[in-house]
């Protein structure tokens, strides 16, 4: 009988972390892009500003192509993770099947709304409010989709939840960890959205751009403010989490048998600190804004990559209570055995 888990080379870990990071950022962008477009369209209507409409239209277009990144890197992440530990990911997929079925329906609606929004620019003049609502609804659908993805990840990393999921698949949405995870995801959505606004404002500094420089600079500052707020909210949430959960997870990272986790933790920390520094400098000094936008995007990616790597490169599941087997290098670990 052949094994159903694949012994992939260790270097695939980094590919998996990269794919997860890109997928996560693309999912965050999938929420924030339609909402940003809706905001800009609304302001454009209020202020009679054509440049805002142009930017909103571009964001709607980007949201369509962002679907490709979401799907492609989502598929790659799921493929690699399930090759490592099919018992874990497929089992939790079946356990959460009703929820994931609803997730697929939300996804279909989201994709439909995104395409509708892009198409709606042609006949927007008559139904501006409806067009804005279309984008808002798309963002709401994406937020629900994020909730289901968080549930899937939570179910995969914590198999002590499985007996409860077996009896009631919806019970995962009553877990405190789910709400923390969803909170982090929402704040990352705001952070990503802020950086996207900064990058949008950066476009105004191109010589062939139709937008004014002041409008671009305003967008950059606005994006920086959003991102900074999101980071501070994340810090507060982390504080609450530490108060409730203690320092156990940090000890696991420090006492791990995988030494590469430490530099990755450093990368994540440096990424966050540098991001805060860049955002504060943008708000305080208002200088070199276009370059700062690009740097902010780079540091955001580094921070997310570092966090995702720590999260996905779990230490040996056998050494952990609860038998965490998600994307473990021990492909032959049976979740049922890990807990018994």
């Amino acid at each position: 009988m052949m094994e159903s888990s694949v012994r992939l080379p260790g270097a695939v870990d980094i590919v998996l972390a990269l794919a997860l990071s890109l997928h996560f950022l693309a999912v965050c962008a999938a929420v924030s892009l339609p909402w940003l477009a809706a905001h800009l369209e609304f302001w454009g209507k209020e202020e009679e500003s054509r440049s805002y409409w142009t930017t909103a239209s571009q964001l709607g277009e980007i949201a369509v192509y962002n679907l490709g990144v979401v799907f492609l890197f989502g598929v790659l992440s799921y493929l690699l993770a399930s090759m490592r530990a099919p018992e874990t990911l497929f089992a939790v997929s079946v356990l959460l099947a009703p929820g994931l079925g609803v997730f697929l329906m939300f996804l279909v609606v989201y994709v439909g709304l995104i395409f509708l929004y892009r198409r709606g620019w042609k006949s927007r003049q008559k139904i501006v409010r409806l067009h804005i609502l279309n984008a808002v609804a798309a963002g709401v659908m994406a937020v629900f989709c994020v909730a289901f993805l968080v549930a899937l990840v939570l179910g995969a990393v914590d198999d002590s939840l499985w007996p409860r999921l077996w009896l009631d698949p919806w019970s995962i949405f009553r877990e405190a960890d789910f709400w923390f995870g969803w909170g982090y995801a929402i704040f990352t959505v705001f952070m990503t959205g802020g950086v996207i606004v900064m990058l949008t404002g950066r476009e105004a500094f191109h010589w062939d751009s139709g937008s004014s420089l002041s409008a671009g600079a305003r967008l950059i500052r606005l994006g920086a403010f959003f991102s900074l707020c999101a980071i501070f909210l994340m810090v507060v949430l982390s504080g609450v989490w530490v108060l409730l959960k203690g320092l156990g997870p940090f000890r696991i990272v420090l006492s791990t048998d995988r030494p590469e986790l430490i530099p990755l933790a450093v990368v994540a920390f440096v990424g966050i600190v540098a991001l805060v520094e860049i955002l504060m400098s943008v708000l305080k000094w208002r200088g070199s804004a276009p370059r700062a936008s690009l740097l902010a995007a780079v540091f955001l990616f580094l921070a997310v990559f570092g966090m995702t790597s720590i999260f996905s490169w779990q230490p040996d599941p056998k050494k952990q209570e609860g038998g965490r087997a998600f994307v473990s290098t021990k492909g032959d670990t049976r979740p049922g055995e890990a807990t018994r």
Binding site: L8, L95, L167
Partner: protein
């Protein structure tokens, strides 16, 4: 490896999977075929003064990109997720076999999408460098078609695993016997699908000259593809036939009929297009367009039906049965049993999970096709067993009676537990099972007597009954052997006065013989040869299909068995049936 089971009626599961597969096949075909038409239109526009060919190519490119990002990606993800819900073990094994090709497929798909996006975005910028632009588009098409080839390889492998189960070589899995015809058929179907979409587009054009030009161009490519598709379908059917996939299951329509239908439709479509769209494009009106589109839709559905129905008892041919049990692990499971502790079942201290052994085995082995049986009250879906013990004998004879069924993989104790579970379902649905009357030896036929003596008696198997079973049944079960010993019935006559079918005790021998067979709902579907084989197996329980070595308790020579209490069954996870039902229904 054990996975949780999603309890849905098999009709829902198969309908959902078939619908999503169909949708995915159609969208993928439109994408791949559309990409080729895009290049054809661009090439034609480059050598023509008609600028609309170039516009058409650009429009098709945009459509293909949107279709890929929206439709294909969404339907593919949905199909894969739903497939995992219903067949997680198959998905895990397919991934472990095809992990390299799957990753390569992902790379090809990503490159294809990226190149296609570049092809669309740089349309104006590379207007003067049409050669480079065309090459970019061609590279995108090649990548998309290579990604599709990986998908077709996996699908064709499940139908014809060829020499893979023996060698476990990846190349044997990829280059399986039906790969080439399946890929050619897929390619033809993709071109036909995109062609039909092109014909609809052409019909919507107002300019007569332009409309006829498009109809003629698209119609020619589609007609050729339809003809090639019919040839590829024939080749595919021949390969499937040699692999033994076209025999059909029971009373279902054999897949060969669907295959023949596909060939006929493809030829019909080809002739229709040659006679109208190619030779007289001006006569290609809305009615003919509708006929062509319906033909294409039916053709793809026919291909889908052949794929669905030609799997036989396997999910992966000669490797994995429909219920997810591997062919290679059957013997081991017969020895060690199927039940294993799993992580998701709630377990209190010292207590086993809250499903009975019979229910657990039924879920794992039978549910995939007989999920409807679990609902009490659906007596029409349940087998027409008349006597206690029939279920166990039916399970013993299952391979002989239904060669297309998966082999029962489980210990003897588990088989008995499943039999009790099925009988419990029958009782829940209001069917009363009579005690099987003892069968008397025939003095004239020595062999038959010996065989009957060695056959399991009518006494219920000595496994713990389900909680809630009436004590009357136990009394009956105990009473039968005594009755048999005290007053043997007449030779060859069923001596069951309480027989539910109203057969009198003095009924002639042939009728009694018929009653002695295990009755079942699907009896009409079994072939005469399998019936004969079944009777042969019936007479010789030590045959290959029933030689589990676990029925010594049932022989007439054994002491009348007393049902054991649940606690005495060592590995059987017996608990309250109400709990089990509650847990089962929630999944």
């Amino acid at each position: 490896m054990q996975f949780p089971i999603l309890e849905t009626p098999p009709v829902v599961a198969s309908a959902l999977l078939s619908a999503l597969s169909y949708l995915f096949a159609v969208l993928t075909g439109l994408m791949a075929g559309g990409a080729v038409f895009m290049l054809v239109a661009q090439k034609r526009g480059a050598g023509s003064i008609e600028f609309r060919w170039n516009d058409l190519a650009r429009r098709v490119a945009t459509w293909v990109l949107n279709l890929t990002l929206g439709g294909v990606a969404l339907s593919g993800v949905s199909l894969w997720m739903v497939f995992i819900f219903f067949h997680p073990k198959m998905a895990a094994h397919l991934q472990s076999i095809f992990w390299g090709p799957l990753l390569a497929g992902w790379v090809f798909l990503t490159c294809g999408v990226a190149l296609l996006a570049g092809y669309v975005f740089y349309w104006d910028r590379w207007r003067d460098r049409s050669g480079v632009h065309f090459t970019l588009g061609a590279a995108a098409v090649v990548c998309l078609w290579l990604a599709a080839a990986m998908m077709v390889a996996v699908k064709s492998f499940t139908l014809t695993s060829g020499g893979w189960p023996a060698s476990a070589s990846l190349w044997r899995a990829i280059l399986n016997p039906s790969l080439v015809p399946a890929y050619l058929l897929w390619a033809a179907a993709a071109m036909i699908l995109a062609g039909s979409a092109g014909l609809i587009y052409a019909r919507c054009q107002k300019d007569n000259l332009w409309r006829e030009a498009v109809i003629q161009g698209v119609g020619t490519v589609t007609a050729v593809a339809a003809l090639a598709g019919s040839v590829a379908c024939l080749a595919w059917l021949v390969v499937l036939s040699f692999a033994g996939n076209l025999e059909g299951m029971g009373d279902e329509i054999p897949p060969i009929y669907f295959g023949a239908g596909v060939v006929v439709i493809a030829v019909e479509l080809s002739i229709l297009l040659v006679l109208t769209a190619v030779r007289r494009p001006e006569s290609f009106g809305n009615v003919l367009c509708a006929v062509a589109v319906v033909s294409v839709v039916t053709l793809v559905a026919g291909i889908q039906a052949v794929q669905d129905k030609s799997q036989g008892p396997f999910l992966i041919q000669n490797y994995m049965y429909r219920n997810g049990i591997l062919v290679s692990e059957v013997e081991e499971l017969k020895e060690k049993g199927l039940w294993k502790p799993v992580a998701w079942m709630p377990e209190k201290e010292g207590a086993p999970p809250n499903v009975t052994l019979g229910e657990y085995n039924f879920r794992v082995q039978c549910r995939v096709c007989h999920a409807g049986w679990r609902k009490a009250g659906l007596s029409s879906g349940l087998p027409a067993f008349k006597f206690e013990g029939d279920a166990l004998r039916y399970l013993d004879q299952i391979s002989a009676r239904h060669p297309f069924f998966p082999v029962f993989a489980g210990s003897g104790q588990e088989k008995q537990a499943v039999a009790i579970y099925i009988e419990g379902l029958l009782k829940k649905s209001g069917v009363s099972l009579a005690s099987r009357p003892a069968e008397t030896p025939r003095p004239t036929k020595k062999k038959t007597i010996e065989a009957r003596e060695s056959r399991p008696s009518a006494v219920p198997p000595p496994v713990a009954p389900q909680v809630g079973e009436s004590s009357e049944d136990e009394v009956k079960a105990k009473a039968v052997p005594e009755k048999t010993l005290s007053s043997p019935p007449e030779e060859g006559v069923e001596s069951a006065p309480e027989a539910p079918d109203g057969v009198s005790p003095q009924a002639p021998a042939p009728a009694a013989e018929e009653n002695a067979k295990v009755p079942e709902k699907e009896e009409g579907g079994a072939s005469p040869s399998s019936e004969a084989q079944a009777q042969k197996t019936d007479a010789n329980p030590a045959g290959s299909s029933t030689a589990v070595g676990d029925h010594s308790d049932h022989s007439p020579g054994a002491a009348p068995s007393v049902p054991k209490p649940a606690a005495q069954v060592p590995a059987a996870p017996e608990t309250k049936s109400s709990d089990a039902d509650a847990g089962g229904e929630k999944q």
